[in-house]
């Protein structure tokens, strides 16, 4: 039997900031709704091969484009393909791009920002100057250029988008680390004799996590938008694969006759973006990222 439990079984359970944040988040209906929808989307995307009502390749040229019906809940496209199936498979790619590219950005940005912020001095100056220069580059145009030059390669798309988004992440992380470093509790940890690695692990990272979580949640929708934007222009995902952006692009071409081909993929994308933004805003409020003292 651990002594701690014996000695402190009379100790009242404290409520950690994470716990408080969770309670606040739970009260925010929009954020909960966003989280729920997102969870649903992710689960559906993961299980698509088993859930999809039709096979991805199945065409029915005789059927052609039909409005929503009992057999095809969201209708079919001009090749007679089931739109719901298309949207489900497209969602897999759109969400994957969103999550993976954000993960790339997160990894590079947080590492970069943490090093710059903690080491400080000249290293920081050089590292952040580089970020400034990259920031000033017109990346949207560059990504288009990359996709043109190197063909429309999905891996490249991940990398290119991740490479743009890490800059903001690095800035946020750096300013977090820098302001935390000046906090008195970090100074107290230094005066106790903790090593820099332990200080980062125990005192800096847990306190920098809030803004990073919030920003990550808000980066995913902007990444998904970027992918959809490129796919719409025909510079992103290429057939036979599909994504929501690509479906919207097809839908826009034939919207006059078959408006559902535009509206349903549009709804899928917008709903997901809504959920992510609501969740992100909710997390921002719950985690109190503006950083008040109490």
């Amino acid at each position: 039997m651990n002594t701690a439990t014996q000695v402190f079984d009379d100790a009242e359970k404290g409520s950690s900031l994470w716990h408080d944040a969770w309670l606040r988040l739970r009260k925010n209906k929009l954020a909960v709704f966003g989280g729920g929808v997102l969870l649903f989307m992710v689960v559906v995307a993961l299980l698509t091969p088993w859930l999809a009502p039709y096979s991805y390749e199945a065409q029915n040229l005789d059927l052609g484009a039909t409005p929503p019906s009992a057999a095809h809940w969201l209708g079919t496209d001009i090749f007679g393909r089931d739109l719901l199936t298309q949207i489900m498979y497209g969602g897999r790619i759109s969400l994957a791009v969103g999550f993976i590219a954000t993960a790339v950005a997160l990894l590079i940005g947080v590492t970069w920002g943490a090093i710059a912020g903690y080491v400080g001095g000249r290293v920081d100056a050089v590292m952040m100057r580089l970020v400034d220069i990259l920031y000033a580059l017109p990346f949207m145009i560059f990504i288009v250029l990359l996709m043109v030059v190197f063909g429309r390669n999905i891996l490249l798309l991940f990398l290119a988008i991740g490479a743009v988004e890490w800059l903001t992440m690095a800035r946020i992380m750096r300013s977090q680390v820098q302001s935390l470093r000046q906090q008195e509790f970090v100074e107290a940890a230094v005066s106790v004799g903790l090593s820099p690695a332990a200080i980062i692990r125990k005192h800096v990272v847990p306190n920098a996590l809030g803004p990073i979580i919030v920003y990550t949640t808000l980066t995913i929708p902007s990444v998904m938008l970027l992918e959809a934007f490129l796919s719409f222009l025909g510079l992103g995902i290429q057939p036979p694969a599909t994504s929501w952006g690509l479906l919207i692009s097809y839908g826009a071409e034939t919207m006059e006759e078959y408006p559902w081909l535009l509206i349903f993929p549009g709804c899928a994308l917008t709903l997901t973006l809504f959920s992510l933004n609501f969740l992100g805003d909710g997390l921002r409020d719950a985690l109190d990222v503006r950083g008040s003292k109490d």
Binding site: A4, L17, Q183, E184, A188, K202
Partner: protein, 528 residues
């Protein structure tokens, strides 16, 4: 007839978590040409009551539940917003606590200053500016012409407060509400501003409502004192009556909390624990810029077992000196010797091992505790790091620490934000004592706390110093606090050590002009 008479004012804040009565049936008055002071600690409702009667409490969440505020035959609380606006800034004006944030940083001082004139008196810009400049001169701004076209950030805190005062007086108001107008200022500046307010008040025959947490400050200037606690007026009367014969227990507690008295001098043979020789700590803000000489050639001895009070105003380098000794900031030159070890050259592992012998207590208990760690973890960290206890002894050691700093053991698994400021400071003290240090730097450990809490923490520190046989460098801007706790005093000014001596000697026969001006600035000549 009273200039302002507030009767049975009640204000509450309605939030999602319920209704909170901030001001409960409060009555007070300000006589013509007199100063009424409202005294109370944070959360006592002293500011809210004044803001409420001027319609400056945002609603929601604020709500005025009842009462009257008669000013020149009108009930302020019954006026419409437009009618109230006509009075605000003309007949009743305000100055606030933090002059650094109360002036619009985007507007020139002149433009802000003439705003009340052009607004309430329809004065043209030309004459308004002339009047503003005359007033700036009167409140002691040296070059009014230049000040008019300056932006607030070009001025120091004291200067900005003078501008605020000029702005408040420009319409020749009948009542001035001063909300902690000197709290954010250095002692000597505080004394100047207090004198200025008192002077202008007599000269212009205005009534003043002076809100403060500091009885000593108020005792010098008030004609009438109102003591508030938790939204209620607990006592009111003339200063003499309040100080000599306080009726309410809370008033008695407040008075008892005023740091007073002088520590009885110990007659121990000086045995230097720490020797500081020609210490320099300079900062270079940006490459190539002139260095800021925060600590400049300071030599000082700290004797074993003593509390050395280090006094100075903001920017004097007193905090940097404390941090330099603990090697928390890189030092530029000089030597620090701890017993026989030269601290200034210790690095890496050697420094780390040395750290448990000296610890620090910080000013802001809200910032000095990691918000994501429980009290248990905060206290366990130094103990485990230095291997001072084994796993089995850990809980026992932490229990003892909690007892020693006066915290209930049941708090161990709570997080810092669940505690009050005073409790947090106790936790921070516990952390500093965990390693059983010989030397502690206490950097303004009580200046962020309410008066009554301040007294408790000071007592705790005095007890612990004795119990643990500590040597302490006690840094403060507050001479009364220092006098109460320190055996010897060192005075810093602009990075230099200007005076050093026993507490009695520094207070009774200061050698330097600067020390004399500091002593003269201590408020509360009437309070003692």
């Amino acid at each position: 007839m009273a200039l302002l008479s507030v009767d049975n004012l009640s204000v509450s804040f309605v939030t999602r978590n319920g209704t909170n009565k901030a001001v409960d049936n409060v009555s007070f008055s300000v006589e013509q040409r007199q100063i009424t002071a409202i005294i109370g600690e944070s959360g006592s409702g002293k500011s809210v009551s004044c803001y409420a009667m001027l319609g400056l409490v945002p609603s929601p969440p604020g709500r005025i539940d009842g009462g009257t505020a008669n000013f020149q035959g009108q009930d302020l609380l019954a006026l419409s917003e437009a009618e109230l606006r006509a009075i605000r800034g003309r007949d009743i004006t305000m100055i606030f606590q933090d002059p650094m944030t109360c002036l619009n940083p985007f507007m020139k001082i002149g433009d802000q200053l003439i705003e009340p004139l052009t607004l309430h008196q329809n004065l043209a810009k030309g004459p308004a500016r002339a009047r503003a400049m005359a007033l700036l001169d009167e409140v002691g701004i040296r070059d009014p012409q230049a000040a008019m076209s300056a932006f607030p950030h070009e001025f120091s805190g004291g200067m900005r407060q003078r501008v605020m005062i000029a702005m408040a007086l420009i319409n020749e108001p009948k009542l001035l509400i001063a909300d902690e107008p000197t709290t954010a200022l250095d002692v000597t500046i505080q004394a100047q501003i207090l004198r200025l307010i008192a002077e202008l008040q007599t000269k212009r025959d205005i009534g003043v409502l002076f809100i403060s947490h500091d009885l000593a400050v108020v005792s010098d200037i008030a004609d009438q004192i109102v003591v508030m606690e938790k939204g209620k007026v607990v006592e009111s009367g003339q200063p003499k009556a309040i100080f000599d014969n306080p009726q309410h227990p809370y008033t008695q507690k407040l008075l008892a909390a005023i740091p007073s008295g002088q520590k009885a001098a110990d007659t121990v043979a000086p045995d230097p624990l720490i020797r500081i020789e020609h210490l320099r700590t300079w900062f270079t803000p940006t490459a190539g810029a002139e260095p800021v000489k925060a600590v400049d050639d300071v030599s000082l001895e700290i004797h074993r077992g003593e509390v050395l009070g280090l006094v100075g105003e903001s920017g004097s380098g007193k905090s940097t000196l404390g941090r330099s000794i603990l090697r928390l900031v890189p030092i530029t030159g000089g030597q620090i010797t701890f017993e026989d070890t030269e601290l200034s050259s210790l690095e890496g592992r050697a420094l780390k091992q040395f750290r448990h012998r000296m610890q620090m207590i910080f000013q802001d208990p809200y910032a000095s505790l990691n918000p994501r760690m429980t009290v248990y973890d905060t206290l366990a960290e130094p103990l485990l790091l230095h291997g001072l206890v084994n796993k089995a002894g850990l809980d026992q050691a932490i229990r003892e620490l909690m007892d020693n700093v006066g915290l209930a053991r049941s708090f161990l698994r709570k997080y810092p934000h669940e505690f009050s400021g005073g409790q947090r400071q106790r936790i921070a003290i516990g952390r500093a004592l965990a390693t059983r240090p010989e030397f502690i730097v206490a950097d303004e450990p009580v200046s962020a706390l309410d008066v009554t809490i301040q007294a408790q923490i000071l007592d705790l520190l005095a007890d612990l110093t004795k119990e643990y046989g500590l040597t302490m460098l006690f840094i403060s801007h507050d001479l009364a606090v220092i006098r109460q706790i320190a055996d010897r005093i060192a005075v810093m000014y602009h990075g230099k050590l200007v005076e050093e001596g026993s507490t009695a000697q520094v207070f009774d026969s200061p050698r330097e002009d600067y020390t004399r001006s500091l002593l003269a600035a201590i408020p509360g000549a009437n309070a003692a």
